[in-house]
Amino acid sequence: MSTLNQLTVAEAAAKLAKRECSSAELVAAVLASIEKHDKQVGAYLTVDAESALEQARAADAARSRGEHQPLLGVPVGVKDLLNVTGQPCTCGSKILKGYVAPYDATAVAKLRAAGAVILGRLNMDEFAMGGSTENSAYQPTRNPWDLSRVPGGSSGGSAAAVAADEALATLGSDTGGSIRQPAGFCGCVGLKPTYGRVSRYGLTAFASSLDQIGPLTKTVRDSALLLSAISGRDPHDSTSLDAPVPDYAAQLGGDLKGLRLGLPKEYFIDGLDAEVEQSVRAAVDQCRALGAEIVEISLPHSKYAVAVYYIIATAEASANLARFDGVRYGLRVDGEDPIDQYGKTRAAGFGQEVKRRIILGTYVLSSGYHDAYYLRAQKVRTLIRRDFETAFQKCDAILTPVAPTAAYKLGEQINDPLKMYLGDIFTIPVNLAGICGVSVPCGFTSEKLPVGLHIVGPALREDVILKVGHAYEQATPWHLRKPEISSQKAE
């Protein structure tokens, strides 16, 4: 069996360009890896091998015609809430069982335009609600570093597939940390772009004012490559930003001289695992060694971020998920009348956590509570955003842990939603502020579990956080380590 599946996107693209391998060979290697490991990992919900190989052959044919798009022939997996024409799109939910997407999400269309092969659909917490991928209605996904542990979530499948070399790169979505936290748990790079950098058209909405699509990759360079491919203004998404899309990968390199990196004094909290803190502090030192100036900053309203998030996100979700009623697509459980049908369909189709959030969101918007919860949360959201604006006058990027702990055991937190919610305490403020953040591997715990460094930047300064992440990554060995499952030799 070949080891082409272990390549990074940049390496694969170079090999393909030099005709050292074909896209068909590359895709076959990835498919073989999925075949071999995914029974244990459970990253994929569906893999259409036939279609992937067909796209790969088409990419090879295109190359022999002289085409040379940046991702030509590179396979990319997508989270199960992105619409891909002709494929299922269940969002990890039973309620969308049987739904076949009639269109491509803009990010998917852009990947195709860049030459990528769309590989398969990755497991997730139902409707992106959760931090462990245990809320998938179909299967748990296991952390490739320790199969008894969760991969994080909600983009757990997207992270686990990259970590296990079952994909070169994947797309996920991040509403409160759903790309960065699983990337941290699985030891890969996960980027949440600025709100509006990537079109949300075709991304099944969880919380529209917070959702962003982003890449999960083996290296910072790969995230830069994918970000350039999927970014840009889209007339189908009014909230997408009309800002030029730089060649992010071309801007990587160099040390961190002249950059000021902020450490929020409020973020090194009580619940922070000692080993995680140690790794992050070591990473801060490394950045200093690379020439960065470390400054203390304050983000005083971040302590309200989780509460604000669970009001705004659930309010938006309660409306976004109202369309799943069994009338036009997906699961339908017949009832006496339409309202009865809705009740029965939604009772049977949604899982526990989704129901919990719909009820919470409906409540905070109800007349009599709307002002006390929803309106107040919006005001605090503004304060959180201002905190960052003030902080970025003192620094170019901010360093924090990605999550308070490394990956926990399956089942450990599933019955304690509040504890699980607090797991996103460092990532949620970034979504509320609409800015960008990236998770980069920064070490391992004594149990050999990856730890992530969270680099946060101002709106549309993905170039800055990618530069910091890349310099740090190149100076450290973490990204080169592979979980045992992936380094098992092929027989």
Binding site: L82, T239, D325, V327
Partner: protein, 474 residues
């Protein structure tokens, strides 16, 4: 005790756009069910709305025509409720920051007096689909889902069914004038909810109101409102309290019935639509749109009376339709008599349009040609009967009146010598009639005039004939 009614309307008007409000699907009426749909208007997972700016322009234009304040900043909101014809189970509408505020419409009451009905607001929103019920099942046609609507909300300023009707007629006329909507009631272009309450005359506080939902004909509004107001007055007189509730009109039975009480009312859980940006309008943009603002029908009537000296009745008939008013003004400017132009259009032209189901735009006679015809009559080149004949020819094939008159030899004979010959002939051939006239029978003169006209093949100038006959018989 004497009661008065207070009526307010919420009128939903379909805006005249080519495509739906948030997607590129066409708004054409009458297509087979579910053929004008896409992921956006079907509420598919991941689909997002994109605002149709034409819907905003038409609504702002309406606001300007109706004297509203245009909000420089407004936003879209989600109105949440479950219904099978609503693809997303929320409607994208405007809650607390609508596009237009205030304004008013002047109506004419049945007694001829004028009254202004104040508007509260105008906002835009998307329409829903249409439920269809069959013998053993139900279906939904989503072709209409996502059609742009403008909702016009009035203050409770109308005193009853007649004023409500007058308001709707006036509104319809204005919207047609502005090209805002096709205002085709059969196709559901205008539908309204009717709020009404009654109170003893002299009481300051409004009575408890009821709402009649989804009325789609003006006649229906009139009947339902007449019934509902009478019902409320009768109930109050019996000492019963009016319940705040939503009612529906049973057209066959001619009564209104309870649909749901206040307690069962929806909690719409409005919140700002996160998928759409706020609507920010600069004054420059509003001014640009205002450039094509048409004159309101009411103003136009007054101006036409002043400019052309035509009676109020004529102005009312002609200004009711913008295209006809334009046709009249173009004709009147070229015609020697504006009143003659008004008469021709009100009677002859409009009768033709009705008879042949044509619009004024389809008529072959141009205003210049009609003015030419009128001027031939004014110059006494042809008389009225001839003019009618020429009009028929022009209507069928167009053409210049003078040319037709010349080609067909229809010019009126005003040559006294020629007419005198016909007069003498008539007198000679009708001795009995002449004797009758001389004996005092005035009517006999008419008969003699008729004879002369016959002899002249209709071309003699009737005035000259009259004068000559009188002169010869005196």
């Amino acid at each position: 005790m004497n009661f008065e009614a207070n009526v307010g309307l919420e009128v939903h008007v379909q805006l005249r756009t080519k495509t739906k409000i948030f997607c590129g699907c066409p708004t054409t009426f009458g297509a087979p069910p579910n053929t004008h749909v896409c992921p956006v208007c079907l509420g598919y997972p991941g689909a997002m709305p994109a605002m149709n700016s034409e819907a905003i322009r038409l609504t702002v234009l309406s606001g300007l025509m109706l004297g509203c304040k245009i909000n420089p900043y407004s936003k879209m909101d989600r109105k949440n409720y479950y219904y099978p014809d609503m693809p997303k189970n929320y409607q994208i509408s405007q809650y607390d920051q609508p596009l237009c505020l205030g304004g008013g419409i002047e109506i004419t009451r049945p007694d001829g007096s004028k009254k202004t009905i104040r508007l509260t607001r105008i906002h835009i929103e998307e329409d829903v689909g249409k439920n269809m019920h069959f013998a053993a099942s139900s279906g939904i046609d989503f072709n209409r889902a996502g059609t742009p609507l403008m909702e016009i909300v009035t203050e409770p300023d109308m005193a009853g069914a007649d004023e409500a009707m007058a308001f709707l007629e006036a509104l319809k006329e204005i919207l047609a004038y502005g090209g805002i909507s096709d205002v085709n009631l059969e196709e559901g272009n205008m539908r309204c909810d009717v709020n009404s309450s009654v109170r003893p005359v002299g009481q300051a506080q409004l009575g408890t109101k009821t709402e009649l939902k989804n009325m789609n004909t003006f006649k229906g509004v009139h009947r339902a409102l007449s019934y509902e107001i009478a019902r409320q007055i009768a109930d109050v007189e019996k000492g019963q309290r009016i319940r705040q509730e939503t009612r529906r009109w049973d057209d066959a039975a001619g009564i209104t019935l309870t649909m749901r009480s206040k307690e069962e009312a929806h909690d719409y859980r409005y919140f700002p639509e996160p998928d759409l940006l706020p609507i920010v309008l600069s004054q420059a943009q509003i001014d640009e749109w205002a450039k094509v603002l048409p004159e309101l029908p009411e103003k136009r009537r007054a101006r036409m009376m002043a400019d052309y000296g035509i009676p109020e009745y004529d102005a009312g008939v002609l200004a009711a339709d913008q295209d006809i008013a334009n046709y009249f003004e173009a004709t009147a400017k070229l015609a020697k008599s504006a009143k003659a132009a008004s008469n021709w259009i009100m009677t002859t032209v409009l009768a033709k349009l009705t008879e042949l189901h044509l619009t004024i735009g389809e008529v072959k006679i141009t205003p210049a040609q009609l003015a030419g015809l009128i001027n031939l009559v004014e110059a006494k080149t042809i008389n009225m009967p001839t003019a009618k004949e020429v009009f028929e020819l022009m209507f069928a094939q167009g053409g210049d009146a003078a040319a037709i008159v010349q080609a067909k030899g229809l010019a009126q004979v005003s040559d006294t010598g020629a007419i005198e010959k016909f007069v003498d002939e008539a007198i000679a051939a009708n001795a009995k009639t002449v004797a009758d006239y001389k004996g005092g029978k005035e009517a006999a003169l008419k008969s003699l005039i008729g004879q002369v006209m016959k002899l002249s093949k209709g071309k003699a100038n009737p005035g000259l004939v009259n004068d000559l006959l009188k002169q010869k018989l005196s």
